[in-house]
Symmetry: C2
DNA sequence: AAATAAAATTAGGCAAGACTAATTTTATTT
DNA sequence: AAATAAAATTAGTCTTGCCTAATTTTATTT
């Protein structure tokens, strides 16, 4: 089995791989985890020895099939716990991520599957991310962001990329949650700011960074 | 906050203190945790620095009020998670202890209280142990064991002391669980073995050690 | 092509939490 | 009271997972 740190690195690599198709470098991992690149190099060696990743200076870090599978199961646990915390314990969506960050490391052969069943086999977590099934399969992630669409487009918030409470609380203040209808009214040329109409109501201006963290349906 | 190891030591000291009123020595702690006495001495120093225990060569290890409070809250979390695993996820009573051993260390200000509420404020865990309340108060522990009573006595299984799956599976095989009525028929002089009648049915002989791990009501 | 900047790696170190082996202290026998 | 046994403590070591500082490699400018 894997240590807590190994699991966090695995999940980070998985995340970076899903997100951008870009090359996964030690620096990128270090930035994401808030660690020093030297530490990342240490861990790359460990995960390579365990045959969970392959590191090639040209291609960057890649997950092996085993690494992929293991990472997926950690993500599965994380998202199932998030659903539990929100639906059963009544937490708000900006509070659950950090707790799930610890719960995801609880290791027991049948725990995730029992939790899944108890929760009624949810498809998506409270941030709109698809929950991997026991076999590792999962629904496609939404990939188009609010910042990608043409002005005038009407769309629906399908998921959020950023799950920090800073972002989620801002969304709450704007009355935006999963399912909210948004129209992109205008893109400001100068800095990419977006003028949007939330739920057919008042217009608000948000930053480009904001738009890039909202995944949408149409 | 405390590290995982600190918490496990705290809980161990609390346990030894509740159990026997005996002096809590480094060796006793080492044995309970399966660690080396030298390691225990290290940790005694850390917990002393943190003012969670007081160590006196004569009196052994004692919890300070703060140490007691912290230990109680860990026990609270452990027992609440055990109820959750059994009642909500359908685990058997011999499977839950080890998982709760990890879950008890998840730290979040409101998690235990929310879980408590979600479970309907249970008084006892699946092994019959009382669950401490948020304020640290808890029902009195049962203290009389099956090995303590006089032959002829009719009693009710209130709790089990040992929570290893070896013991719990043995109980299951004998159809004994919390609430089962047992009559102590005879005590064998030679080695303290107990002849008992389970649920008014067939007679079985069990060891003294067995009897000492069954806590009873009358 | 050189110069410069950025990224990756190595070397060395630190804290936590465990260990073993050696020593000292305390308790129990004789 | 000595001798012996047991318990406690110290000293030194190891692994994990992180760090900083120095160096080397790779990429980007000029
Ligand atoms: Mn994590
Ligand atoms: Mn999520
Ligand atoms: Mn534990
Ligand atoms: Mn229990």
């Amino acid at each position: 089995m894997h240590t807590l740190s190994e699991e966090n690195y695995l999940k980070c690599i998985y995340r970076l791989w899903q997100d951008r198709g870009e090359k996964i470098t030690p620096t990128a991992i270090a930035e994401w985890l808030g660690n020093n690149p030297a530490s990342v190099v240490d861990m790359i060696r460990k995960l390579t020895d365990k045959q969970l990743i392959i590191y090639d200076k040209k291609k960057g870090v890649e997950l092996t099939p085993q690494g992929q599978k293991d990472a997926t199961l950690i993500v599965r646990r994380h998202r199932l716990w998030e659903v539990f915390l929100l639906e059963k314990l009544g937490y708000h969506w900006d509070e659950i991520h950090d707790i799930a960050e610890d719960l995801e490391h609880i290791k027991d052969a049948t725990l995730a599957d029992r939790l899944d069943k108890f929760l009624g086999f949810p498809e998506y977590d409270p941030h709109g991310d698809p929950i991997p099934k026991a076999n590792g399969k999962m629904a496609k992630r939404h990939s188009i962001t609010l910042a990608d669409v043409k002005p005038g487009t009407h769309c629906r918030v399908a998921a959020v990329k950023d799950t920090t409470s800073a972002f989620l609380q801002y969304l709450q203040k704007l009355s935006i949650s999963i399912g909210t209808k948004i129209q992109l009214v205008e893109k400001i040329q100068f800095d990419g700011s977006l003028v949007i109409s939330i739920g057919g109501g008042e217009r608000t201006t948000v930053s480009q960074k904001f738009g890039e963290n909202i995944l949408i349906d149409m």
